[in-house]
Amino acid sequence: MPTKAIKDKRAKAKVRQSQLQDAAHALRAQQLEVLMPGQTGFLEAEHEMEHTERMTQQQLAAHVDLQSQRKIFDIALPDFGPYSCAYTRSGRELLLGGRNGHIATFDWKAGKLGCELQVQESVHDVVWLHNETLFAVAQKKSLFIYDNQGIEIHCLRKHVEPRALAFLPYHFLLASIGNQGILRYQDVSTGKLIAECKTHYGACSTMRQNPQNAVLHLGHTNGRVTLWSPNNGDKPLVNLFAHTAPVHSVDVDLSGHYLATSGMEGAVKIWDLRMFKATHTYRFPQAVRQLALSQTGVLGTLQGGRAVFYKDALRVPDAPPYMTHTLQPGQAPAARLAFCPFEDVVGIGHAGGFSSILIPGAGEANFDTLEANPYQTVKQRQESEVHALLDRVPAETIGLETDTIGQIRQDAPDHDGGGAAAAAIGPKAGSQMGARHLKLQAATAAAPAGSASPAADGADGDAPPAKKLTKQQRKIQNRKLRRKMGEYSNVMDARKLAAKEAHERKVEAAREAQEAALRGDVAGYDPLSRFAVKR
């Protein structure tokens, strides 16, 4: 932002200082990159006859080190599948939930079983809470929370028939959606149910969060994808007409810019969430049941008995498959695909149990100890838990815009002096920062209802309601207007005086010029010039 236009010296200095600071931080971050030890993995063909997508896990195992070889394994659990699976945020622990009621946790690298339990009713989804000590399970009738010993901690009966779960780690919110089609947000730090949003689109079993702004993305059976925050009542933030058939799966990438959706008609669409536009579409003969995006943007899809991975799917249209993995006969159908954070590992939950396979280049190579640490000790975990609770971000701030704290508020009351009315935004105003998406919705509503173009719901597409002014504000506005109309002609201010003087000078100059012309003492003055055609 150029500081030239800022008139206030103090504000200018502050802006400039913060800009310099930002630049210094960016430079420092760049310099620190040298210190990062990890390099992203890769798999490259060395000549034209080699194809990476034909490489099987057995062939791959021959090329990698012993430690990586151990990451390729199968857990045969044929009786309770198909399994849903989830990794912790650091990627250390794995949680498996079999449809027929078997739940187990693992320290998967060490091959250590954490806890194992049979709930003897259907299990639809599993999710870790803020760390590996607690996890939530969407069971037949309600939502349950267990600790790492498998002891039932809570039964949340208000979450009726949950089918998909999501945990927002920075807000400590556990969200569920299920057969009722009601999205429920439970604050797990206080235990309060903070929001119930009726989607009105019937049963739903597809939910993922945007990791950058904690907005939840639901895929509905009517082909729509809706974006939700707990602060917008029963209205979604955005309503996308994504597919012409039921939405099977959605996922958002780590940067929060791209959304991948798959529909029953066999299409996978990649959306740019900054524009809400489908950038490109893949079509398959068979519908993609599950898809997932890795930290580095590798797109994983489950197509029947095969898992197919695309490396550049987010950026390049028609990207060729990067790798494929075919499930063994007893394993199909596959139910769930999960990328392990900070590892080149993908977990596939299927009818025959669970398979862990290697996809080089899928994981972020360098973790941040202070954010998600795979090598965390118990002491560190306890401390980070306390810090995370202290730094909890209020749920009221969830919205499409995240960077609102400290920004200039656009709807700040204009003070009498006019000019730039600036009020810095605290976190409470964050959720009201919907101006951009409202505008966007209005624009999308106006666009012709095309097949792939996103369109806003009729109700949401309305322009924002006109701001209602208080009596005082109306008074001020009227006063301004009257002043403009010249009612206070006796009130002189600097601006008025300057205008008056300028006018007088102009009149004087014109008069003098005329007199000089009449006297005829202007060099090169032609008296006939007054009749010349003015161009």
């Binding site: 030890p37 798999l43 063909a45 006796n490 005086l497």
Partner: protein, 448 residues
């Protein structure tokens, strides 16, 4: 095929033995740190709340004076030594570490108006010497521990203040004129005066050590240079200045405590305009002192409060008061930048923390780092409403808040009236006569 997968060795990321520090690996990619600003804001909010929770600035009240404490001096080299003089002529030397009176003497008849230590380089306390002056015209040189003065001189008139030179054996006294003395001589070296006035306060410059400033009862601030043995400038203020103090780091800047509730900072090269006005007291300011780094100011006054200012700010950053503290006559900032000392009308010395919520005693490195981080966050988000509100919130006696409110209303009314006069005078000639005088020059009547 070329293959590489992420494969980490535990040795690289785990500490070898329990006594080692944890290995920390950072990745500053913003993608891995969502809600960074929101989380920082939450931390800033917590830390500013913690600050207010732990704000317990009052440390000790030292009692023993039979009447109001009118003079206070800190030892130039011993942090724990403070001398004070009261309205009954009694002078006491205090040990702040033990919080008790080390030595006391009936030094003067009537007010003991000024005390100052001699800068002794020897560390043993037995050689501690100080000077006291009183309105009985006596200047007495004391050695702590002996009940009779080492030397005593008689001045020509009642004395209001005394200050010792930074490194030379010289001191100045304030009476109807300024006199420069040496401890060995019973007659003053020089007598300096400009006009007829009574000098009420004076202070040496600690950096340009031959300069000193004095406040006169005829509303003047006079600056003297000892090299020329003459006054160099004189400024008349709208109201009387009660005390003066030089900035220890910025040699040419000084601040005066004025009777009009404000403190005025001047650059001695441009005396026609105050560099800064520090407002918040609601009654006359009686004394002030700079912190040793020159960045902060402590002042005390007739409104029974002590206020701490950042030297460049316009408003105080903190206010200290207690139920029992009466009008504050003298304040000092300790040389280790940790404590404030005040002497008040009811005869007590009080010791305060300079940073209200700072911990006392040894702080661990982790604690220090956490405090620095919290400080940086508060600075970054301090302009936001919620944080500003919590940070600024102080409970003061209703007398002070009511008076402050009244003062604000009066100030606004005055400003509004001035604006209206300008706006509603239509004729050019009339407008030309109206001069808008900035507040920084308004209270400086003239300089010589």
């Amino acid at each position: 095929m070329k293959v590489k997968t992420i494969s980490r060795s535990d040795m690289d990321y785990c500490r070898e033995r329990k006594t080692d520090i944890y290995k920390v690996q950072r990745n500053l990619d913003p993608k891995l740190h969502p809600f960074e600003k929101a989380r920082e804001y939450a931390r800033a909010l917590t830390s500013v709340k913690m600050d207010r929770m732990f704000a317990k600035p009052f440390l000790a009240a030292l009692d023993g004076h039979g009447d109001g404490v009118y003079a206070l001096a800190k030892h130039p080299t011993h942090i724990g030594s403070v001398a004070s003089g009261d309205a009954l002529g009694c002078v006491k030397v205090w040990s702040l570490t033990n919080r008790d009176c080390r030595w006391t003497v009936q030094a003067h008849k009537g007010f003991a108006k000024g005390v100052c230590f001699l800068p002794s380089l020897a560390s043993e306390t037995s050689s501690e010497k100080f000077i006291s002056v009183g309105i009985d015209r006596m200047i007495k040189l004391w050695s702590v521990g002996t009940t009779t003065p080492v030397a005593s001189f008689m001045a020509s008139d009642a004395l209001n203040a005394v200050d010792y030179h930074y490194h030379e054996p010289k001191f100045i006294t304030a009476g109807t004129d300024v006199q420069v003395w040496e401890p060995e001589r019973s007659e003053p070296l020089h007598t300096l005066r400009w006009g007829s006035e009574t000098i009420t306060a004076l202070r040496w410059n600690k950096t340009e050590t031959s300069l000193f400033g004095a406040c006169g009862s005829d509303r003047t601030i006079t600056l003297y240079d000892l090299r020329a043995q003459s006054p160099i400038s004189k400024t008349v203020m709208a109201l009387h200045a009660n005390a003066i103090c030089w900035n220890p780091m910025e040699a040419l800047n000084f601040t005066v405590a004025s009777e009009d509730h404000n403190l005025y900072t001047f650059d001695m090269r441009r005396m026609n305009k105050a560099q800064n006005i520090l407002k918040d007291h609601v009654s006359a300011v009686m004394d002030l002192d700079y912190s040793p780094t020159g960045t902060e100011i402590v002042s005390g006054g007739f409104d029974k409060t002590i206020r701490v200012f950042e030297a460049r700010a316009q408003r105080s950053r903190d206010v200290y008061h207690t139920k029992r503290m009466q009008r504050v006559w003298c304040t000092r900032w300790s040389n280790d930048n940790q404590y404030l000392i005040s002497g008040s009308d009811e005869g007590n010395l009080r010791v305060w923390k300079a940073q209200a919520s700072a911990p006392i005693g040894i702080t661990s490195t982790r604690q220090k780092q956490a405090m620095q981080y919290a400080g940086a966050l508060k600075k970054k988000y301090g302009h936001l409403d919620e944080i500003k509100r919590i940070d600024k919130q102080r409970r003061v006696p209703s007398m002070i808040s009511n008076t402050a409110e009244k003062k604000q209303v009066m100030e606004q009314a005055r400003k509004r009236r001035d604006r209206h006069v300008v706006e509603h005078s239509t004729s050019k000639a009339k407008r030309a006569t109206i001069k808008v005088v900035p507040e920084r020059t308004k209270n400086v009547l003239h300089t010589e």
